[in-house]
């Protein structure tokens, strides 16, 4: 086996290291294999950081998502600098001056190279409730000038800080992905196990259903389902319904994985061996079959998240999913729908870049997990 070969350098402690390998828990072996997949590890770290940022979005972002500023519309991203007047300085931005192009009447922003605004940490800013519970004014960073703003990703047509809105949007988009996957996990696991475990008539029925769902083009299906949602409904309710719609389509992939695993495990000799010592069906499923499946299920779920995220984004972008005032990445991308605003403020596309990065990260992570899923594979 490859594992034995790779983990046996000739050293004094070889014996104990081999013993470590021999007594390593299955999850430890999976982790050892996963670790070798550099891109997947980087993606995992990226996702953890992003997740933390989304959870603490209200504290990390310098403003609140709805605070607009008429005098700061379409402001370009603030450039964070460390060199002022040829010498090193703590991180700062220059103040900007708002001007109008005399010919086109377009608003222009110009840096004022004399006015240094140092970036300060744990500054007092706008009121918010930390995690929706504790009222506070403390923000992770900001500038102390009342008239000036730090906009890491610029502002939109109402002068709202895009970085702030992106973080708040991450909460909605990522959680929609995760909740959608959780729903499809329940559906996929239930139907996949019934198909794989009972086989026969159940299996063909569920298989046909899966084939049918997968053969329906997704966009028109989403549109049809989403069009059935009344406009006036509570945004939170719409959000839940959207995730359910996404998972009604997304469960098939997971069900296929679960079904395949059940089919191959059902004929595995060790399952028969267990049955022949009098093990109950419950014991066989919980002690032998599910543990052999969990890593595959986790990998399949990871690979299903980007589908959900893309689904949410596409639906909201088309105006069929979440609507303002809810902030999601798809909703933010609605602002980037016309060419004029893109050419005027290309930073409005940053939610799109965020979607791409997250989708890639989930795919790399899922690939790495899938490769590591079976440390005993020959």
């Amino acid at each position: 086996m490859t594992l034995e070969a790779t983990a046996a350098p000739v050293e004094p402690e070889t014996a104990s290291r081999e013993e470590d390998l021999y007594t390593a828990k299955p999850w430890t072996l999976i982790w050892w294999r996963f670790r070798k997949h550099k891109l997947a590890v980087a993606s995992l770290i990226f996702m953890i950081v992003l997740g933390i940022m989304a959870i603490f979005a209200d504290f990390i972002s310098p403003y609140t998502p709805f605070s607009f500023s008429k005098l700061n519309t379409f402001a370009p991203p603030s450039v964070v600098r460390v060199i002022h007047d040829g010498s090193l300085h703590r991180p700062f931005i220059y103040a900007v001056k708002r001007k109008r192009d005399p010919e086109t009447a377009r608003v222009l922003y110009e840096e004022d190279k004399t006015k240094v605004l140092p970036i300060e940490f744990f500054v007092k800013g706008q009121d918010y409730k930390f995690l929706g519970l504790v009222p506070t004014q403390m923000h992770l960073f900001g500038v102390s000038d009342r008239k000036q703003q730090i906009n890491l990703l610029g502002t939109d047509s109402l002068g709202r800080d895009l970085f702030t809105r992106l973080l708040y949007g991450a909460r909605v988009t990522l959680s929609a992905g995760l909740i959608g996957v959780a729903f499809s996990f329940v559906l996929g696991l239930a139907l996949g196990s019934i198909a794989g475990y009972y086989g026969g008539w159940w299996d063909s029925g569920i298989q046909r259903l899966m084939e049918f769902i997968r053969s329906v083009p997704t966009i028109p299906l989403w549109m049809g389902l989403a069009a059935a949602l009344p406009v006036a409904w509570d945004p939170l309710f719409v959000y839940v319904l959207i995730t359910i719609i996404l998972s009604l389509i997304g469960w098939t992939h997971l069900a296929r994985v679960v079904r395949g695993r059940f089919l191959s495990l059902r004929t595995e000799d060790y399952v028969l061996a267990s049955r022949l010592c009098g093990a109950s069906e419950y014991r066989i499923v919980t002690k032998h079959m599910l543990p052999a499946m969990t890593s595959y299920i986790i990998a399949a779920m990871t690979l299903a998240v980007p589908e959900m995220i893309l689904g949410e984004t596409a639906l909201s972008f088309l105006g069929l999913g979440l609507r303002p005032p809810v902030v999601s990445w798809g909703v933010l991308l609605q602002d980037a729908q016309n060419l004029r605003s893109i050419s005027l403020a290309p930073w409005l596309l940053s939610p799109g870049i965020a979607v791409v990065l997250v989708v890639l990260a989930f795919n790399f992570l899922g690939d790495g997990l899938r490769d590591a899923a079976d440390p005993y594979g020959h």
Partner: protein, 344 residues
């Protein structure tokens, strides 16, 4: 089944008219479109303390017989009578899983593939201890002690209890499987191609181990293999199967000396003979074609398309199992043919 004779005192397991037909399902609604007659009317006894060899090419139904006896499958028809530890006879045929549970500790199986027969996610403690946990009579510490004792019995070090199967070679894994099978002190063990996947020297070691254990615990073995050469030294009697039927049954030495069925003769001629004095010159029968499909067997004797001695009778009529000089044979021409065995 009132017409069955009582089980003689020296018999541990008595199989009568055993049948297993697997349905072939097809299409949308999984309609049954046919059946595979994997085991068809098989009858034999295994005596207490003996090793019974079951041989035949791959696909002849040997594994299915073993799995029926151990009741991994339900029977299509027939009877399996087993002598329990208290000397009572139990019919296994109609029992459900709950009724089988106490009997399962008395009969066990050793598998062919040492890789797929051990759950890779369990330590030896949990693997070998699983039967003990299921039967639920011992405490945790007692189970640990028993597992260590079993490891010692099969020649593995007791401190291996915390290791996972991937730490071991194929031969060692096979021993782990043996330890697991022994955990509940069974009286009967079916070894399905138990050493076929191993190197010759490792296989020989494991066979010696099995023989030692047989002596020590008075075990009865059913030893399944496609390799006749293997069973000569370890089986007291052998049964030869072909396409779900037992075609010849008798003492190992007798069968090797003079087979009565052409199929047995062909299998024997394929056994490599290291001893030059025992080699018969030039006589190696190469079987034509493939083993018949049990879903669609030829008419008459299933062996007739490959049999060098086949006559019209063989092509039309299924031969009955007959008793000839203390042996059972399923061949129309058993008396007339003078078949070649392996000389003394």
């Amino acid at each position: 089944m009132s017409d069955m004779t009582p089980v003689p005192d020296d018999v541990l397991l008595s199989v009568n008219g055993l049948k297993k037909y697997f349905p072939i399902n097809h299409g949308w609604l999984q309609r049954q479109v046919g059946e595979v007659k994997a085991v068809d009317d098989v009858t034999f006894d295994i005596k207490k303390g003996e090793t019974f060899g079951l041989v035949g090419e791959s696909g002849s139904g040997k594994s299915t017989v073993a799995r029926l006896i151990l009741r991994a499958y339900t029977l299509t028809d027939g009877s399996i009578r087993f002598r329990r530890a208290d000397d009572s006879i139990t019919e296994l045929g109609g029992l459900d899983e709950k009724q089988l549970r106490p009997i399962r500790s008395e009969m066990q199986m050793i598998f062919q593939d040492p890789y797929s027969s051990l759950d890779p996610r369990m330590r030896l403690l949990d693997l070998i201890g699983e039967p003990l946990v299921i039967q639920g009579k011992l405490t945790k510490d007692e189970i640990r002690d028993r597992v260590q004792e079993l490891l010692g019995l099969v020649g593995l070090r007791p401190e291996y209890v915390m290791r996972y199967p991937h730490a071991f070679s194929g031969g060692q894994r096979q021993r782990i499987g043996i330890a697991r099978a022994l955990a509940l002190n069974p009286s009967f063990i079916a070894a399905d191609e138990a050493v076929s996947a191993l190197d010759v020297s490792v296989a020989a070691q494991n066979i010696n181990l099995l023989q030692d254990l047989q002596e020590k615990f008075g075990l009865t073995y059913m030893f399944i293999t496609h390799d006749l050469g293997m069973v000569e030294h370890i089986s007291d009697r052998i049964g030869v199967m072909y396409v779900g039927r037992m075609v010849e049954l008798g003492d190992t030495a007798e069968i090797f000396r003079k087979p009565l069925h052409p199929y047995t003769e062909a299998l024997l001629s394929a056994v490599p003979q290291p001893d030059p004095r025992r080699r018969k010159e030039g006589k190696r029968i190469i079987l034509k074609g493939e083993i018949a499909d049990p879903a669609n067997p030829p008419s008459g004797c299933a062996f007739n398309p490959r049999c060098p001695y086949a006559t019209d009778l063989c092509r039309t009529t299924i031969p009955a199992l007959r008793e000839i000089s203390g042996r059972q044979v399923r061949c129309h021409h058993a008396e007339e043919l003078d078949l070649t065995g392996v000389g003394e």
